[in-house]
């Protein structure tokens, strides 16, 4: 069964229009036209007539959960969410950045999404590999079943198998490319600190110039800050103008957190993020 993007787009338009007309929400976060078909853009519909501008196709990869924290608390909004995006919403609810009752989640079941820059199909290698949103109010389409279920962590095997020197060399090479445009943190739905630790000047955690030392500090700390929170949407890597595979490190940390604490990020609104939680019977083995 192939996904009908057109059908999703139509439903998205109808839902958005209805929600805006009834005043149930004041804005709908979805996708709109970009400069060409292959490059749609995140879009905010505020009036019922705006709903006609909504598009959805296989290039609509952006995580709309990123934009929720931009609006004042209490803003009623509808958000178009794909699988990973819905996990981001759940995670933000857990972190009390948004309230469930303020949101209408328009769930989009989809696979075969494509990276607008490279045209490659996005699969479990760079994202969490789920097809259906975890949480939604309206499902635009039918749940996807029968697609191969692949662990999002499979891609890590070759990096875990590297010896530590090779792995260090790999990360050094990758992180040295960083130009510190901060597209990764700005594209990330979970990065909402203001100011970000790297912009603080007292203490000054790391160098601002794009050289090895500052880059390592910025990225390692960012990986840590996203531990147990990263929902593996892969937006950081797609946003990166110099193609640093940040998703690999995020996946590794997510996998370790899942192994150690038995909970994946953004799967249930009842959960607490693993690093602001503990169990008395956590094993000391995790420190070994």
């Amino acid at each position: 069964m192939a996904i009908s993007f057109k059908q999703i787009e139509d439903k998205l338009k109808t839902e958005a229009k209805g929600l805006l007309e009834t005043g149930k929400v004041s804005l709908v976060l979805a996708y709109g036209k970009g400069y060409d078909e292959k490059h749609p853009m995140p879009y905010v519909a505020r009036r019922p007539s705006d709903a006609d501008n909504i598009v959805f196709n296989e290039f609509c990869t952006h995580n709309m959960a990123r934009y929720m924290v931009r609006y004042p608390a209490g803003t009623k909004m509808a958000v178009a969410v794909k699988a990973a995006d819905s996990r981001a919403v759940i995670q933000l609810i857990q972190e009390e950045k948004v309230k469930r009752e303020d949101l209408v989640l328009l769930g989009i079941p989809a696979y075969g999404m494509k990276n607008p820059k490279t045209g490659e199909t996005i699969d479990s290698k760079t994202t969490c590999g789920l097809y259906n949103p975890v949480l939604y109010d309206v499902l635009l389409g039918e749940e996807v079943h029968g697609q191969p279920v692949v662990s999002p962590y499979d891609v890590l095997a070759q990096y875990e198998a590297m010896d530590k020197e090779a792995r260090f060399a790999f990360w050094k090479k990758e992180l040295d490319k960083c130009i510190r445009c901060y597209a990764c943190r700005k594209a990330c739905p979970m990065c909402y600190c203001d100011p970000c630790f790297i912009d603080q000047n007292k203490p000054k955690w790391g160098e601002k110039s794009p050289e090895s030392a500052g880059n390592l500090m910025y990225h390692l700390t960012r990986f840590h800050h996203l531990a147990g929170r990263c929902i593996d949407c892969g937006e950081c890597s797609r946003a990166c103008p110099v193609n640093i595979p940040l998703y690999l490190f995020h996946k590794k940390v997510a996998k370790d957190c899942e192994d150690m604490f038995g909970q994946a990020a953004g799967m249930s609104v009842e959960d607490k993020p693993v690093l602001v939680n503990f169990r008395v019977d956590d094993s000391d083995k995790i420190l070994e």
């Binding site: 400069y35 490059h39 879009y43 130009i179 601002k208 110099v242």
Partner: protein
Amino acid sequence: MLKKTAINKATELAAALMEKGTLIAPVKEDAGFNFREISDAKQVDLNFHNTIISPKSAFFPQTEDFVRYQTGKSILEATPVELNIKPAFLFGVRPCDVKSFEIMDIHFSGTGLVDPYWQKRREATTVFGYAFDLDKPAEAEEFYQTLGIGAADPEGSDIFMVKKDNDLLMKAITPRGEKLLTGLNIPSEASADDEKYFDDTVAAGRNFKTRSTCVDARATAKKFEDLFHNTDFWEKMSHACLSCGACTFVCPTCYCFDICDETLFSRGTRRRVWDACMFTDFTLEASGHNPRTKVYQRLRQKVCHKYSYHVRKYGVISCVGCGRCTRYCPVNIDIFSIVEEAVKA
């Protein structure tokens, strides 16, 4: 003077240039091409469309050391970092990027106090322009035609290169280029046929199609001035914007920088680092006052700076239509579409 060399002999040409000074040329990296200082002539790779980071970094590197100091010691012991600039060759710059150097010259060395770093590097560097491949259509992001820049404009280059089948035609445009080209014995003399091909390419380049809209610098500047207070317009344009610095860092005409002191234990360096007007703390004053807290204000600043303020201050639009900002924008914001909308509005 027109000379030619086989493209597969570009390595020899590179080696010859490296003997005369520093060579900066496109290098293939895993994310794409970038201008790099060449250490091995084989690295030079002309099979590129355009680079990720613009060649402005050859004159205005992302970090530039000003002073080395020691904390706890007197300021008198701080030592300015001397610019040790050798003759350099910037090889394979696309015509739109060459144009960006002229725009940046006005800002850095043409008005007010002269920026010694930019000026000295500029003076020491011979620029080899390189025409776009006219057999292939322009990429969707590009719009240099809008700004009156051809795909094979030799102006601004010291030596301009055009690809002809498997040959590279090289023409000296300035006396400096003439002198260099005379002294190089790698390329051979070109035939009259080649001359014609070169001139035809330049002419064809002027009509080469990219995205295009009617942009008159003065009129556009005025248009944006009038649009400044149209918050609806700017909010509409910016609702996708993430406020990252990708567009400004890849841009050939963005010049904003930060001056920061980086200290490790007691030793430190005062250096300038590229900064971006898209960052939240760009205009955050120590008092806590920040005139541009909202995303739309920052995007407006960027677009208006290029298309309005710069025209009023320096007389030219500070954009060359290379399309990098659009290509590397994580959310596909397209400055051309914004300009188009504004002209229509």
